[in-house]
Subunit: 342 residues, 2 copies
DNA sequence: TCCAGATGTGATACCGATACCATACATTGT
DNA sequence: ACAATGTATGGTATCGGTATCACATCTGGA
C-alpha cells in the first residue's frame, strides 16, 4: 500500500505537492503535475481516507439502521437512501437491528466510534434513550417510520393511522363487522397508530371494539402464521375479515388460511398494510406505503442537516399511503346493517 | 466530542495513562484507574476508531458486495455473513451493486480508500479485473456464488450444475421433453452452469437441445415476466415445462402465466432454482441453495485469511443444493417415450 | 529600477490513539 | 548497602494527509 510519501519520493517532490496535485489546489507547474501524476499511476496510489477523515472530522458516511433486512419494504427504502446519498457523495452503512434493542445499541456504539456523520434510524424497542445518546454527541439523526416519545427529533414516516382507517373502512363499507386485527408489538408507534385507525373506523360505524379480535405478535411471517392459526381456532364466531398490520404478517396469514383450507376471499377477506412485491400473484387489497420515497426524503433531510443547510428540529414529515384494491375482499350480503354514524 | 486528551486533563494524568486504563494494559494504580474511569464517564468519552485504524492499519471492516439487495437470497446470505463476523469482532459494510460493473467499481474504490480489511465479492459483470485490482493492493478477497475466469481466488458457491441437472431430470422423469429454460446473462457463471446441467440431463435422455426454448434475460421479476410472455407467444409447440434459473424469474413467470390464464401445473409445469421464501403459498418445486451457510462459510474463510491463519489460495468450496418437491410439476401421460440413454 | 503581486514549492504542525523508551519510586534478596 | 526487579507514569514519535506559514522565483507596471 503506497502512501503519499512514496509518491512524493518517486516524483522527487514534497508530499504536500502530491496533495496539491490530487486536490487541484494551489499553484502547480505543468511539468511537476505530470511527474506526480505519473508516479501516482505507476504506484497505483490510492489516498487513505482514514487520515483525511481524521483531519477533517468528517467521514462522509451515514448509517442506516433498519429493523429487518429481509423485508422488501426496508430494502426498497434502502435503495431510496442510497440513491439520495449517491448525489451527495455520502456512503451508506446499512445495519440490520432485527428489532433488537441490544443489537441496535452495539451498532450505534461502533458507528459512533467510527465517527459516522449522521444516523437514519428506525428505532428498535421504542426507547427514546438511543436517539438522545446520539444527539448528545452532536451527531445528526433523522428517525424513519416511527415516532419516539419525549425526544425532539426529525421524523419521516407514513400515515399509519390514515391508511389503517381507510383499509378498515373499506371492509366496513362492504358489510364486514367482525374484523380481526393481527398486528405487532404496540411498543412500536406504527402498531399503535394502525390500531388507532382501525378503531376510529369501527367507531364511526358504531361497531364496538372487541379485544378478542385483536392480536399482537411480531412483524414476521411465522408470527402471522401462528396468530392466524390461533385466531381461527379461538375467535368465535369467526371474523369475516382479517386486517394484517404489515406485509409479512399477511403472508403468514395467507399461508395459515391456505393450510386450514379457508378460501380467500370466499370464506374470509384479507387486507393488509404494506405492499407485497414478491407475492407470486398479488391479489391482496393493501394500503401501500412509499418506501423508496420515505428513504429518499429522510436521507435528503439528514444530508442537509449534516451540511448545515437546515437546522435539526422536530419536523414530522408524513407521507400519504395509497389504497390498492385487488381481489381479497368479498362484499357481504346486506343483512340488517347499521349505517355509519356520520 | 471529547478526546482522550480531554479525559486526561480532567483526570489529571497523561493521555497514555487513559489509553492504558481503557485497554487494560500495563500497570495502573487503583486510584488512578478510578479517577480516569470517572472522567470517561462524566465526559461520555468514546474512543475514535479512525485514529486507531490509522495507527494499526486495520479497520475491522469487511465489505460484502451483493448483486441485488431486494432478493431474499442475498439478504439471507448477508445474515450468515453478519453472524459469522459478529464473533470475529468484524463489522460488515453491505453494498448493493445491482449487477452493475460501474457501481461495483465505485464501491470498491471507496472501500479501498477506507482501508477495508477484506472483500466478500459477488462479482458483477464477470470481469476478472476487479478481483485482480483488489488482490494487487494486498487486500484479501473471497468470491461468493460465481466463478471468475483467469484469477487465482478463493470461491464459495453452490452446485449450480448439479442442481440444474437434478431439476431437469426431475422433469424428464415425469415425461417432459419440451422444457423451456428462462435464465439470465451467461456472462454470469451460475447461468452457464445451470444451463450446462440442463443440457447434460437432456443429453442423457437423448433429447436434442432446442435453442428456441432458451431465453436469457436478467435475474429479476420483470424480466421473468417478459420472457414468459414472449416464450408463450413464440414457442411452438408450447413447452410442457418451464425451468427458471432463479427465484425472481420464477415469480415473474408465475405472474405471467397467471395473467395468461395458463394453470400451473395442469397446463404447464414449473421448476426453479432458489427457494422462494416470500411466496404466499410456496408450491413450486425448487433446487434450494443454502444462502445462510454460503455467507457463513465465505465470511469465516475471509476472516481466517485476514488473521493470517489461512493463506489465500484458489479453493473452490461447492455447497450442495437440495431438491424440494412441491406441487408445480405434472407427470405427463406416457406416450412413446424414449428411455434414458444410461 | 524597484516593488507589488502572482506563481511554485517546502517545512512544520496537527487530527487522536498508542508503541516505545525513559524515568522514578518501591520492594526484595543477598 | 546496593543491585535487581516490580510498579506506576510520562515524553515523544508515528500512522497518512493537509492547513498554515514561509520562502523562493518570476512578471509587469510605475
Amino acid at each position: 500500500m503506497p502512501t503519499m510519501r512514496d509518491v512524493a519520493k518517486k516524483a522527487g517532490v514534497a508530499p504536500i505537492t502530491v496533495s496539491r496535485v490530487i486536490n487541484n489546489s494551489g499553484y502547480i507547474r505543468e511539468e511537476t503535475r505530470r511527474k506526480v501524476e505519473q508516479a501516482i499511476a505507476e504506484l497505483e496510489y490510492v489516498p487513505n481516507s482514514l487520515s483525511q477523515s481524521l483531519r477533517f472530522k468528517k467521514t462522509n458516511m451515514i448509517a442506516l439502521m433498519v429493523s429487518d433486512i429481509t423485508n422488501p419494504f426496508w430494502t426498497t427504502l434502502t435503495r431510496g437512501v442510497e440513491d439520495a446519498c449517491m448525489g451527495g457523495g455520502m456512503n451508506v452503512i446499512l445495519c440490520n437491528t432485527d428489532e433488537n434493542a441490544e443489537k441496535q445499541e452495539n451498532y450505534i456504539n461502533v458507528l459512533l466510534q467510527r465517527q459516522t456523520d449522521g444516523f437514519l434510524l428506525v428505532p428498535a424497542g421504542g426507547e427514546p434513550a438511543v436517539v438522545k445518546r446520539i444527539q448528545k454527541r452532536g451527531v445528526p439523526v433523522v428517525v424513519i417510520d416511527r415516532q419516539v416519545p419525549g425526544v425532539e427529533v426529525d421524523i419521516v414516516r407514513s400515515d399509519s393511522e390514515g391508511g389503517a382507517y381507510t383499509l378498515t373502512r373499506h371492509l366496513l363499507e362492504r358489510g364486514h363487522r367482525r374484523i380481526a386485527l393481527l398486528s405487532f408489538s404496540i411498543s412500536i408507534s406504527t402498531a399503535r397508530q394502525r390500531q388507532a385507525g382501525y378503531e376510529k373506523a369501527l367507531a364511526e360505524y358504531g361497531v364496538a371494539i372487541d379485544p378478542g379480535l385483536i392480536r399482537h405478535g411480531r412483524p414476521r411471517g411465522d408470527s402471522g402464521y401462528m396468530m392466524t392459526m390461533e385466531a381461527m381456532a379461538s375467535m368465535n364466531p369467526r371474523p369475516t375479515a382479517i386486517f394484517t398490520a404489515n406485509n409479512f404478517i399477511a403472508i403468514g396469514a395467507l399461508n395459515a388460511l391456505h393450510d386450514l383450507g379457508i378460501r380467500v376471499p370466499e370464506e374470509i377477506s384479507v387486507v393488509s398494510f404494506d405492499e407485497m412485491p414478491y407475492a407470486t400473484e398479488p391479489f391482496v387489497t393493501v394500503a401501500a406505503q412509499a418506501p423508496y420515497e420515505l428513504g429518499m426524503s429522510a436521507a435528503q433531510m439528514l444530508m442537509s442537516i449534516i451540511s448545515g443547510e437546515e437546522a435539526p428540529g422536530n419536523r414530522d414529515i408524513v407521507l400519504p399511503v395509497e389504497l390498492i384494491e385487488r381481489r381479497s375482499v368479498m362484499t357481504l350480503p346486506m343483512v340488517a346493517q347499521a349505517a355509519p354514524e356520520e
